[in-house]
Amino acid sequence: MSADLRTRVGALALGHPVMNASGTLDALAARAAGIEADRELALLVTKTVTPLAREGNPAPRVCEVEGGMLNSIGLPNPGLEAFAAAVLPQTRALGRPLVVSIGGFEHADYGLACARLDGEPGIVALELNVSCPNVKSGCISIGSDPAETEAVVRLCRAATRLPLWVKLSPNVADLAAIALAAERGGADALVLTNTLRGLAIDHRTLKPLLGGVSGGLSGPALKPVALAAVHACHAACGLPIVGVGGIASGWDALEFLAAGACAVQVGSAAFREPLLARRVRDELATLLDGRGMTAVSALKTTTLD
Protein backbone atom coordinates (compact mmCIF):
# COMPACT_ATOMS: atom_id res chain seq x y z
CA MET A 1 0.00 0.00 0.00
CA SER A 2 1.16 3.51 -0.66
CA ALA A 3 -0.86 6.42 0.62
CA ASP A 4 -2.47 8.75 -1.87
CA LEU A 5 -0.60 12.02 -1.38
CA ARG A 6 -2.83 14.13 -3.58
CA THR A 7 -4.07 17.29 -1.93
CA ARG A 8 -5.66 20.63 -2.74
CA VAL A 9 -4.91 24.22 -1.88
CA GLY A 10 -8.36 25.62 -2.44
CA ALA A 11 -9.29 24.85 -6.02
CA LEU A 12 -5.72 23.98 -6.97
CA ALA A 13 -5.11 20.23 -7.14
CA LEU A 14 -1.60 18.97 -6.36
CA GLY A 15 -0.02 15.56 -6.90
CA HIS A 16 1.48 15.70 -3.42
CA PRO A 17 1.76 18.32 -0.67
CA VAL A 18 5.46 19.31 -0.86
CA MET A 19 6.70 22.50 -2.52
CA ASN A 20 9.58 24.92 -1.92
CA ALA A 21 9.46 28.06 0.15
CA SER A 22 9.94 31.29 -1.77
CA GLY A 23 13.53 32.45 -1.86
CA THR A 24 15.03 29.05 -1.13
CA LEU A 25 15.37 27.65 -4.64
CA ASP A 26 16.51 29.23 -7.90
CA ALA A 27 15.50 26.32 -10.08
CA LEU A 28 17.42 27.66 -13.07
CA ALA A 29 20.67 28.04 -11.13
CA ALA A 30 20.13 24.64 -9.54
CA ARG A 31 19.64 23.01 -12.95
CA ALA A 32 22.84 24.71 -14.15
CA ALA A 33 24.60 23.12 -11.17
CA GLY A 34 23.20 19.71 -12.13
CA ILE A 35 20.47 19.65 -9.48
CA GLU A 36 16.93 18.99 -10.68
CA ALA A 37 15.30 19.96 -7.41
CA ASP A 38 12.23 21.42 -9.10
CA ARG A 39 11.23 17.97 -10.36
CA GLU A 40 10.59 16.83 -6.79
CA LEU A 41 8.12 19.62 -6.04
CA ALA A 42 4.36 19.65 -6.41
CA LEU A 43 4.86 23.14 -7.77
CA LEU A 44 7.61 25.72 -7.88
CA VAL A 45 7.43 28.95 -5.87
CA THR A 46 9.58 31.75 -7.27
CA LYS A 47 11.76 34.17 -5.38
CA THR A 48 9.88 37.34 -4.49
CA VAL A 49 9.71 39.88 -7.31
CA THR A 50 9.32 43.59 -6.62
CA PRO A 51 8.31 46.37 -9.04
CA LEU A 52 11.90 47.59 -9.49
CA ALA A 53 15.16 45.66 -9.48
CA ARG A 54 16.84 45.22 -6.09
CA GLU A 55 20.38 44.16 -5.28
CA GLY A 56 19.49 43.09 -1.77
CA ASN A 57 21.21 43.69 1.53
CA PRO A 58 24.94 44.07 2.22
CA ALA A 59 27.07 41.03 3.09
CA PRO A 60 27.29 38.99 5.20
CA ARG A 61 23.78 37.82 4.45
CA VAL A 62 23.62 34.41 6.11
CA CYS A 63 24.89 32.80 9.27
CA GLU A 64 24.22 29.63 11.18
CA VAL A 65 22.78 29.99 14.69
CA GLU A 66 21.74 27.50 17.34
CA GLY A 67 18.64 25.79 16.01
CA GLY A 68 18.81 27.14 12.49
CA MET A 69 20.09 30.07 10.49
CA LEU A 70 19.57 33.77 9.99
CA ASN A 71 19.27 35.41 6.61
CA SER A 72 19.30 39.04 5.64
CA ILE A 73 19.05 38.62 1.89
CA GLY A 74 16.80 41.62 1.24
CA LEU A 75 14.80 40.48 -1.79
CA PRO A 76 17.36 40.77 -4.60
CA ASN A 77 15.50 40.37 -7.89
CA PRO A 78 15.55 41.76 -11.43
CA GLY A 79 12.32 43.73 -11.06
CA LEU A 80 8.85 42.91 -12.38
CA GLU A 81 9.35 43.66 -16.07
CA ALA A 82 12.70 41.89 -16.37
CA PHE A 83 11.24 38.98 -14.44
CA ALA A 84 8.26 38.75 -16.78
CA ALA A 85 10.43 39.12 -19.89
CA ALA A 86 13.33 36.81 -19.03
CA VAL A 87 13.09 34.83 -15.80
CA LEU A 88 9.46 33.78 -16.13
CA PRO A 89 9.77 32.28 -19.64
CA GLN A 90 12.90 30.34 -18.67
CA THR A 91 11.30 29.12 -15.47
CA ARG A 92 8.08 28.24 -17.26
CA ALA A 93 10.13 26.12 -19.67
CA LEU A 94 10.97 23.80 -16.76
CA GLY A 95 7.39 22.61 -17.05
CA ARG A 96 6.42 23.00 -13.42
CA PRO A 97 3.28 24.78 -12.20
CA LEU A 98 4.42 28.14 -10.86
CA VAL A 99 3.49 30.25 -7.89
CA VAL A 100 5.00 33.71 -8.26
CA SER A 101 5.88 35.49 -5.02
CA ILE A 102 5.21 39.24 -5.05
CA GLY A 103 6.64 41.86 -2.71
CA GLY A 104 6.26 45.58 -2.48
CA PHE A 105 6.75 48.74 -0.52
CA GLU A 106 3.31 50.26 -0.92
CA HIS A 107 -0.09 48.84 -1.69
CA ALA A 108 -0.02 49.76 -5.37
CA ASP A 109 3.13 47.66 -5.91
CA TYR A 110 1.18 44.50 -5.20
CA GLY A 111 -1.75 45.44 -7.41
CA LEU A 112 0.59 46.36 -10.25
CA ALA A 113 2.33 43.00 -10.11
CA CYS A 114 -0.95 41.09 -9.92
CA ALA A 115 -2.28 42.88 -12.97
CA ARG A 116 0.97 42.36 -14.91
CA LEU A 117 1.11 38.64 -14.18
CA ASP A 118 -2.59 37.93 -14.67
CA GLY A 119 -3.00 35.76 -17.73
CA GLU A 120 0.63 34.71 -17.92
CA PRO A 121 0.62 31.00 -18.74
CA GLY A 122 2.03 28.54 -16.26
CA ILE A 123 1.21 30.56 -13.16
CA VAL A 124 -1.26 28.76 -10.92
CA ALA A 125 -1.27 31.24 -8.01
CA LEU A 126 0.36 34.40 -6.69
CA GLU A 127 1.91 34.46 -3.22
CA LEU A 128 1.73 37.89 -1.61
CA ASN A 129 4.81 38.38 0.55
CA VAL A 130 3.60 40.81 3.20
CA SER A 131 6.01 39.38 5.75
CA CYS A 132 9.66 39.77 4.71
CA PRO A 133 11.56 41.05 7.78
CA ASN A 134 14.59 42.20 5.79
CA VAL A 135 13.40 45.37 4.08
CA LYS A 136 12.93 48.79 5.60
CA SER A 137 9.42 49.50 4.34
CA GLY A 138 6.46 47.64 2.93
CA CYS A 139 6.19 43.88 3.20
CA ILE A 140 6.11 43.12 6.92
CA SER A 141 4.84 46.58 7.85
CA ILE A 142 1.82 45.85 5.66
CA GLY A 143 1.38 42.31 6.93
CA SER A 144 1.58 43.38 10.57
CA ASP A 145 -1.62 45.38 10.34
CA PRO A 146 -5.04 43.81 9.70
CA ALA A 147 -6.46 46.84 7.88
CA GLU A 148 -3.45 47.16 5.60
CA THR A 149 -3.41 43.44 4.91
CA GLU A 150 -7.10 43.45 4.01
CA ALA A 151 -6.65 46.48 1.76
CA VAL A 152 -3.69 45.00 -0.13
CA VAL A 153 -5.39 41.67 -0.65
CA ARG A 154 -8.58 43.41 -1.79
CA LEU A 155 -6.55 45.49 -4.27
CA CYS A 156 -4.89 42.35 -5.61
CA ARG A 157 -8.17 40.48 -5.74
CA ALA A 158 -9.51 43.16 -8.10
CA ALA A 159 -6.37 42.99 -10.26
CA THR A 160 -6.16 39.28 -11.03
CA ARG A 161 -8.18 36.13 -11.46
CA LEU A 162 -5.32 34.02 -10.16
CA PRO A 163 -5.61 32.45 -6.71
CA LEU A 164 -4.01 34.64 -4.04
CA TRP A 165 -1.92 33.04 -1.31
CA VAL A 166 -0.93 35.42 1.48
CA LYS A 167 2.32 34.70 3.30
CA LEU A 168 2.23 36.02 6.84
CA SER A 169 4.80 36.77 9.50
CA PRO A 170 4.97 35.27 12.99
CA ASN A 171 6.25 38.66 14.24
CA VAL A 172 2.78 39.88 15.21
CA ALA A 173 0.76 39.85 18.40
CA ASP A 174 -2.44 38.42 16.91
CA LEU A 175 -1.77 36.41 13.76
CA ALA A 176 -5.34 35.11 13.58
CA ALA A 177 -6.57 38.69 13.21
CA ILE A 178 -4.26 39.18 10.23
CA ALA A 179 -5.42 35.88 8.75
CA LEU A 180 -9.05 36.92 9.07
CA ALA A 181 -8.22 40.24 7.43
CA ALA A 182 -6.61 38.42 4.50
CA GLU A 183 -9.70 36.24 4.22
CA ARG A 184 -11.98 39.30 4.18
CA GLY A 185 -9.82 40.83 1.47
CA GLY A 186 -10.34 37.85 -0.78
CA ALA A 187 -7.35 35.58 -0.16
CA ASP A 188 -7.58 32.00 -1.37
CA ALA A 189 -4.97 30.55 0.98
CA LEU A 190 -2.47 31.41 3.70
CA VAL A 191 1.21 30.52 3.79
CA LEU A 192 2.40 30.23 7.40
CA THR A 193 4.94 31.41 8.23
CA ASN A 194 7.75 33.60 7.04
CA THR A 195 10.89 33.83 9.17
CA LEU A 196 11.10 35.17 12.71
CA ARG A 197 13.24 38.26 13.18
CA GLY A 198 16.53 37.53 14.95
CA LEU A 199 19.99 38.90 15.64
CA ALA A 200 23.43 37.30 15.84
CA ILE A 201 26.49 38.92 17.41
CA ASP A 202 30.02 38.39 16.08
CA HIS A 203 32.17 37.14 18.97
CA ARG A 204 35.27 38.89 17.64
CA THR A 205 33.81 42.36 17.06
CA LEU A 206 30.74 42.26 19.32
CA LYS A 207 28.84 43.81 16.40
CA PRO A 208 25.90 42.33 14.49
CA LEU A 209 27.12 39.48 12.35
CA LEU A 210 24.83 40.23 9.41
CA GLY A 211 25.29 43.21 7.11
CA GLY A 212 21.59 43.97 7.44
CA VAL A 213 21.94 43.89 11.26
CA SER A 214 18.94 41.66 11.96
CA GLY A 215 17.72 38.78 9.85
CA GLY A 216 15.05 36.14 9.56
CA LEU A 217 15.36 32.96 11.62
CA SER A 218 14.56 29.72 9.84
CA GLY A 219 15.23 26.06 10.51
CA PRO A 220 14.29 23.75 13.39
CA ALA A 221 13.82 26.58 15.92
CA LEU A 222 11.07 28.08 13.75
CA LYS A 223 9.02 24.91 13.51
CA PRO A 224 7.05 25.14 16.78
CA VAL A 225 6.32 28.80 16.07
CA ALA A 226 5.04 28.00 12.60
CA LEU A 227 3.02 25.04 13.86
CA ALA A 228 1.33 27.27 16.41
CA ALA A 229 0.59 29.78 13.67
CA VAL A 230 -0.98 27.11 11.47
CA HIS A 231 -3.02 25.78 14.35
CA ALA A 232 -4.26 29.23 15.41
CA CYS A 233 -5.17 30.36 11.91
CA HIS A 234 -6.82 27.05 11.05
CA ALA A 235 -9.04 27.49 14.07
CA ALA A 236 -9.78 31.13 13.26
CA CYS A 237 -10.56 31.16 9.57
CA GLY A 238 -11.64 28.89 6.76
CA LEU A 239 -8.76 29.42 4.40
CA PRO A 240 -6.56 26.54 3.29
CA ILE A 241 -3.08 26.77 4.80
CA VAL A 242 0.34 25.96 3.38
CA GLY A 243 2.68 25.29 6.31
CA VAL A 244 6.33 26.33 6.27
CA GLY A 245 9.02 26.59 8.92
CA GLY A 246 11.71 24.09 9.85
CA ILE A 247 10.42 21.19 7.78
CA ALA A 248 13.19 18.65 7.20
CA SER A 249 11.42 15.27 7.33
CA GLY A 250 8.20 13.44 6.71
CA TRP A 251 7.43 13.71 10.40
CA ASP A 252 7.73 17.49 10.22
CA ALA A 253 5.36 17.56 7.26
CA LEU A 254 2.91 15.28 9.03
CA GLU A 255 2.92 17.58 12.06
CA PHE A 256 1.97 20.55 9.88
CA LEU A 257 -0.80 18.58 8.18
CA ALA A 258 -2.09 17.48 11.57
CA ALA A 259 -2.07 21.10 12.76
CA GLY A 260 -4.31 22.09 9.87
CA ALA A 261 -2.14 22.63 6.79
CA CYS A 262 -3.11 21.08 3.46
CA ALA A 263 0.38 21.39 1.96
CA VAL A 264 3.89 22.28 3.09
CA GLN A 265 6.93 24.16 1.89
CA VAL A 266 10.56 23.20 2.52
CA GLY A 267 13.18 25.92 2.81
CA SER A 268 16.49 26.20 4.58
CA ALA A 269 16.90 22.46 5.19
CA ALA A 270 17.01 22.05 1.42
CA PHE A 271 20.14 24.20 1.32
CA ARG A 272 22.10 21.21 2.59
CA GLU A 273 19.89 18.60 0.91
CA PRO A 274 18.72 19.88 -2.48
CA LEU A 275 16.35 16.95 -3.12
CA LEU A 276 14.80 17.18 0.35
CA ALA A 277 11.27 17.44 -1.06
CA ARG A 278 11.52 13.90 -2.41
CA ARG A 279 12.55 12.49 0.96
CA VAL A 280 9.82 14.43 2.79
CA ARG A 281 7.23 13.17 0.33
CA ASP A 282 8.41 9.54 0.56
CA GLU A 283 8.65 9.61 4.36
CA LEU A 284 5.20 11.13 4.58
CA ALA A 285 3.76 8.30 2.49
CA THR A 286 5.45 5.74 4.72
CA LEU A 287 4.16 7.42 7.87
CA LEU A 288 0.61 7.53 6.55
CA ASP A 289 0.87 3.87 5.56
CA GLY A 290 2.11 3.00 9.02
CA ARG A 291 -0.90 4.68 10.56
CA GLY A 292 -3.32 2.91 8.25
CA MET A 293 -4.21 6.10 6.42
CA THR A 294 -4.81 5.72 2.73
CA ALA A 295 -4.64 9.39 1.81
CA VAL A 296 -3.50 12.83 2.94
CA SER A 297 -7.10 13.88 2.62
CA ALA A 298 -8.01 11.39 5.37
CA LEU A 299 -5.62 13.01 7.81
CA LYS A 300 -7.68 16.06 8.59
CA THR A 301 -10.86 14.15 9.23
CA THR A 302 -9.18 11.65 11.51
CA THR A 303 -7.02 14.00 13.52
CA LEU A 304 -8.81 17.31 13.69
CA ASP A 305 -12.48 16.39 13.85
Partner: protein
Protein backbone atom coordinates in the same frame (compact mmCIF):
# COMPACT_ATOMS: atom_id res chain seq x y z
CA UNK B 1 24.15 14.35 -1.85
CA UNK B 2 26.55 11.58 -0.92
CA UNK B 3 27.81 10.32 2.40
CA UNK B 4 31.55 10.11 2.96
CA UNK B 5 33.81 9.41 5.90
CA UNK B 6 37.00 11.00 7.16
CA UNK B 7 39.75 8.49 6.37
CA UNK B 8 42.55 10.46 7.95
CA UNK B 9 43.11 13.79 9.63
CA UNK B 10 46.54 15.27 10.24
CA UNK B 11 47.52 18.62 11.70
CA UNK B 12 49.38 20.89 9.32
CA UNK B 13 50.51 23.96 11.22
CA UNK B 14 47.32 25.54 12.61
CA UNK B 15 45.20 23.69 10.04
CA UNK B 16 43.71 20.23 9.63
CA UNK B 17 44.53 18.18 6.57
CA UNK B 18 41.37 16.09 6.16
CA UNK B 19 41.18 13.18 3.74
CA UNK B 20 37.67 11.98 2.84
CA UNK B 21 36.80 8.68 1.20
CA UNK B 22 36.21 9.37 -2.46
CA UNK B 23 32.47 8.88 -2.77
CA UNK B 24 32.13 12.06 -4.86
CA UNK B 25 33.88 13.79 -7.75
CA UNK B 26 36.76 16.04 -6.68
CA UNK B 27 35.95 18.73 -9.23
CA UNK B 28 38.24 21.14 -11.01
CA UNK B 29 40.82 23.37 -9.28
CA UNK B 30 39.01 26.20 -7.51
CA UNK B 31 35.58 24.56 -7.46
CA UNK B 32 34.12 23.76 -4.05
CA UNK B 33 31.98 21.26 -2.19
CA UNK B 34 29.49 21.75 0.62
CA UNK B 35 30.50 19.55 3.56
CA UNK B 36 28.34 18.80 6.57
CA UNK B 37 29.73 16.60 9.36
CA UNK B 38 26.75 14.76 10.81
CA UNK B 39 28.14 14.93 14.34
CA UNK B 40 27.86 18.71 14.32
CA UNK B 41 24.09 18.71 14.04
CA UNK B 42 23.91 22.24 12.65
CA UNK B 43 21.58 23.22 9.85
CA UNK B 44 24.12 24.20 7.23
CA UNK B 45 27.02 22.69 5.32
CA UNK B 46 30.32 24.52 4.85
CA UNK B 47 32.01 25.37 1.54
CA UNK B 48 35.52 23.96 1.07
CA UNK B 49 37.69 23.45 -1.99
CA UNK B 50 39.61 20.21 -2.49
CA UNK B 51 43.40 20.48 -2.37
CA UNK B 52 44.17 17.00 -3.70
CA UNK B 53 42.55 13.77 -4.82
CA UNK B 54 43.47 10.23 -5.81
CA UNK B 55 41.49 7.12 -6.67
CA UNK B 56 40.51 6.54 -3.05
CA UNK B 57 40.23 9.97 -1.47
CA UNK B 58 39.60 13.70 -1.78
CA UNK B 59 41.55 15.96 0.57
CA UNK B 60 40.65 19.31 2.10
CA UNK B 61 42.49 21.77 4.30
CA UNK B 62 40.44 23.52 6.95
CA UNK B 63 40.83 25.75 9.96
CA UNK B 64 39.09 23.63 12.60
CA UNK B 65 38.26 26.29 15.19
CA UNK B 66 34.92 25.20 16.55
CA UNK B 67 31.55 24.06 15.28
CA UNK B 68 31.11 22.30 11.98
CA UNK B 69 34.74 22.34 10.90
CA UNK B 70 35.89 21.04 14.27
CA UNK B 71 33.48 18.14 13.81
CA UNK B 72 35.00 17.50 10.38
CA UNK B 73 38.50 17.01 11.76
CA UNK B 74 37.99 13.53 13.25
CA UNK B 75 38.91 10.20 11.73
CA UNK B 76 35.73 8.25 11.04
CA UNK B 77 33.48 11.31 11.03
CA UNK B 78 30.54 10.88 8.66
CA UNK B 79 30.16 13.78 6.27
CA UNK B 80 27.38 14.70 3.85
CA UNK B 81 28.83 16.09 0.62
CA UNK B 82 27.25 17.92 -2.28
CA UNK B 83 29.14 19.35 -5.23
CA UNK B 84 31.46 20.11 -6.86
CA UNK B 85 29.96 23.52 -7.51
CA UNK B 86 30.96 26.82 -9.04
CA UNK B 87 33.45 28.02 -11.59
CA UNK B 88 37.06 27.10 -10.88
CA UNK B 89 40.33 28.30 -12.35
CA UNK B 90 40.71 28.22 -16.12
CA UNK B 91 44.16 26.64 -16.41
CA UNK B 92 43.85 26.67 -20.18
CA UNK B 93 43.81 30.46 -20.17
CA UNK B 94 46.88 30.78 -17.95
CA UNK B 95 49.33 31.11 -20.85
CA UNK B 96 53.01 30.21 -20.93
CA UNK B 97 54.21 32.13 -17.86
CA UNK B 98 51.55 31.84 -15.14
CA UNK B 99 52.20 32.95 -11.57
CA UNK B 100 50.37 31.62 -8.50
CA UNK B 101 49.74 33.95 -5.55
CA UNK B 102 48.29 32.66 -2.29
CA UNK B 103 47.65 33.73 1.25
CA UNK B 104 46.79 31.90 4.45
CA UNK B 105 45.12 28.54 4.23
CA UNK B 106 43.55 29.68 0.95
CA UNK B 107 46.97 29.20 -0.63
CA UNK B 108 46.32 25.46 -0.46
CA UNK B 109 43.53 25.89 -3.03
CA UNK B 110 46.31 26.45 -5.54
CA UNK B 111 47.64 22.91 -5.04
CA UNK B 112 45.56 21.16 -7.74
CA UNK B 113 46.19 24.10 -10.06
CA UNK B 114 49.92 23.85 -9.46
CA UNK B 115 49.82 20.22 -10.57
CA UNK B 116 48.28 21.37 -13.87
CA UNK B 117 50.75 24.28 -14.20
CA UNK B 118 54.01 22.83 -12.86
CA UNK B 119 56.16 25.67 -14.20
CA UNK B 120 54.20 28.34 -12.34
CA UNK B 121 56.04 29.81 -9.33
CA UNK B 122 54.16 30.14 -6.02
CA UNK B 123 54.28 33.45 -4.17
CA UNK B 124 52.53 33.13 -0.85
CA UNK B 125 51.96 35.20 2.28
CA UNK B 126 51.38 33.82 5.77
CA UNK B 127 51.02 35.32 9.20
CA UNK B 128 53.75 33.07 10.64
CA UNK B 129 55.91 30.07 9.89
CA UNK B 130 53.35 27.62 11.25
CA UNK B 131 50.64 28.90 8.90
CA UNK B 132 53.12 28.76 6.04
CA UNK B 133 53.01 24.98 6.22
CA UNK B 134 49.89 25.24 4.00
CA UNK B 135 52.31 25.97 1.15
CA UNK B 136 53.74 22.46 1.53
CA UNK B 137 50.62 21.18 -0.25
CA UNK B 138 51.43 23.19 -3.38
CA UNK B 139 53.99 21.30 -5.49
CA UNK B 140 55.39 24.35 -7.29
CA UNK B 141 59.12 23.94 -7.81
CA UNK B 142 59.82 27.65 -7.40
CA UNK B 143 58.36 29.43 -4.38
CA UNK B 144 58.70 32.63 -2.41
CA UNK B 145 57.15 32.68 1.04
CA UNK B 146 56.48 36.09 2.60
CA UNK B 147 56.24 36.32 6.37
CA UNK B 148 55.68 39.63 8.23
CA UNK B 149 56.92 42.23 7.62
CA UNK B 150 57.50 41.06 4.04
CA UNK B 151 54.69 41.73 1.56
CA UNK B 152 53.87 39.23 -1.15
CA UNK B 153 52.94 42.09 -3.47
CA UNK B 154 56.59 43.14 -3.42
CA UNK B 155 57.48 39.65 -4.64
CA UNK B 156 54.81 39.84 -7.34
CA UNK B 157 55.76 43.28 -8.70
CA UNK B 158 58.97 42.32 -10.53
CA UNK B 159 57.31 39.26 -12.05
CA UNK B 160 54.31 41.06 -13.52
CA UNK B 161 56.10 42.24 -16.66
CA UNK B 162 56.76 38.68 -17.77
CA UNK B 163 53.61 37.05 -16.44
CA UNK B 164 51.00 35.67 -18.83
CA UNK B 165 48.42 35.35 -16.05
CA UNK B 166 48.23 35.58 -12.26
CA UNK B 167 46.04 33.06 -10.42
CA UNK B 168 45.35 33.97 -6.80
CA UNK B 169 43.57 32.59 -3.73
CA UNK B 170 43.51 33.81 -0.15
CA UNK B 171 42.07 36.53 2.06
CA UNK B 172 39.82 39.09 0.43
CA UNK B 173 42.24 41.98 0.96
CA UNK B 174 45.11 40.05 -0.62
CA UNK B 175 43.28 38.90 -3.75
CA UNK B 176 41.80 42.37 -4.29
CA UNK B 177 45.27 43.89 -4.03
CA UNK B 178 46.61 41.28 -6.48
CA UNK B 179 43.75 42.04 -8.88
CA UNK B 180 44.49 45.77 -8.67
CA UNK B 181 48.20 45.24 -9.33
CA UNK B 182 47.45 43.02 -12.32
CA UNK B 183 44.92 45.50 -13.71
CA UNK B 184 47.50 48.30 -13.43
CA UNK B 185 50.07 46.16 -15.24
CA UNK B 186 47.63 44.88 -17.86
CA UNK B 187 48.15 41.25 -16.82
CA UNK B 188 45.19 38.83 -16.92
CA UNK B 189 44.23 37.62 -13.47
CA UNK B 190 41.96 34.98 -11.97
CA UNK B 191 41.12 35.16 -8.26
CA UNK B 192 39.26 32.80 -5.93
CA UNK B 193 36.95 34.65 -3.54
CA UNK B 194 35.31 33.54 -0.31
CA UNK B 195 31.90 34.37 1.14
CA UNK B 196 29.59 32.88 3.75
CA UNK B 197 27.38 30.45 1.89
CA UNK B 198 24.31 28.45 2.91
CA UNK B 199 23.69 26.28 -0.14
CA UNK B 200 26.42 26.40 -2.80
CA UNK B 201 24.04 26.03 -5.76
CA UNK B 202 22.43 29.43 -6.19
CA UNK B 203 19.40 28.90 -3.98
CA UNK B 204 19.99 31.09 -0.94
CA UNK B 205 21.50 34.30 -2.38
CA UNK B 206 23.65 34.42 0.75
CA UNK B 207 27.07 34.60 -0.90
CA UNK B 208 26.69 38.02 -2.51
CA UNK B 209 29.90 39.84 -3.36
CA UNK B 210 30.43 43.14 -5.14
CA UNK B 211 31.82 42.64 -8.65
CA UNK B 212 31.96 45.44 -11.18
CA UNK B 213 29.62 47.51 -9.06
CA UNK B 214 27.00 44.77 -8.82
CA UNK B 215 26.21 42.28 -6.08
CA UNK B 216 26.42 38.78 -7.55
CA UNK B 217 26.13 35.27 -6.15
CA UNK B 218 29.63 33.92 -5.72
CA UNK B 219 28.50 30.30 -6.01
CA UNK B 220 26.99 31.02 -9.43
CA UNK B 221 29.53 33.46 -10.92
CA UNK B 222 32.57 32.24 -8.96
CA UNK B 223 34.22 31.41 -6.67
CA UNK B 224 36.95 32.09 -9.24
CA UNK B 225 36.35 35.33 -11.13
CA UNK B 226 38.33 37.45 -13.55
CA UNK B 227 40.47 39.90 -11.62
CA UNK B 228 39.27 42.69 -13.89
CA UNK B 229 35.81 42.37 -12.37
CA UNK B 230 37.23 42.86 -8.88
CA UNK B 231 39.39 45.77 -9.92
CA UNK B 232 36.32 47.48 -11.39
CA UNK B 233 34.24 46.98 -8.22
Amino acid sequence: MTLSRVASCEPLGPYSHVRLERTFAPGDPGQFHMLRPLAHGGLLARPLSAVASDDASVTFLCQPGSGALAALAHVGAEVEVIGPFGRGFDAGAAGAEPVLVGGGFGAALLAPLSRLLPSAPLLAAFRDAAAARAAELVPAAEREIALPPANVLDALAPRLAGASCVLAAGPDGLVRAVAAACAAAGVPCQVALEAPMACGYGACYGCAVSLGGKLVRLCVEGPVVAGERLAAA
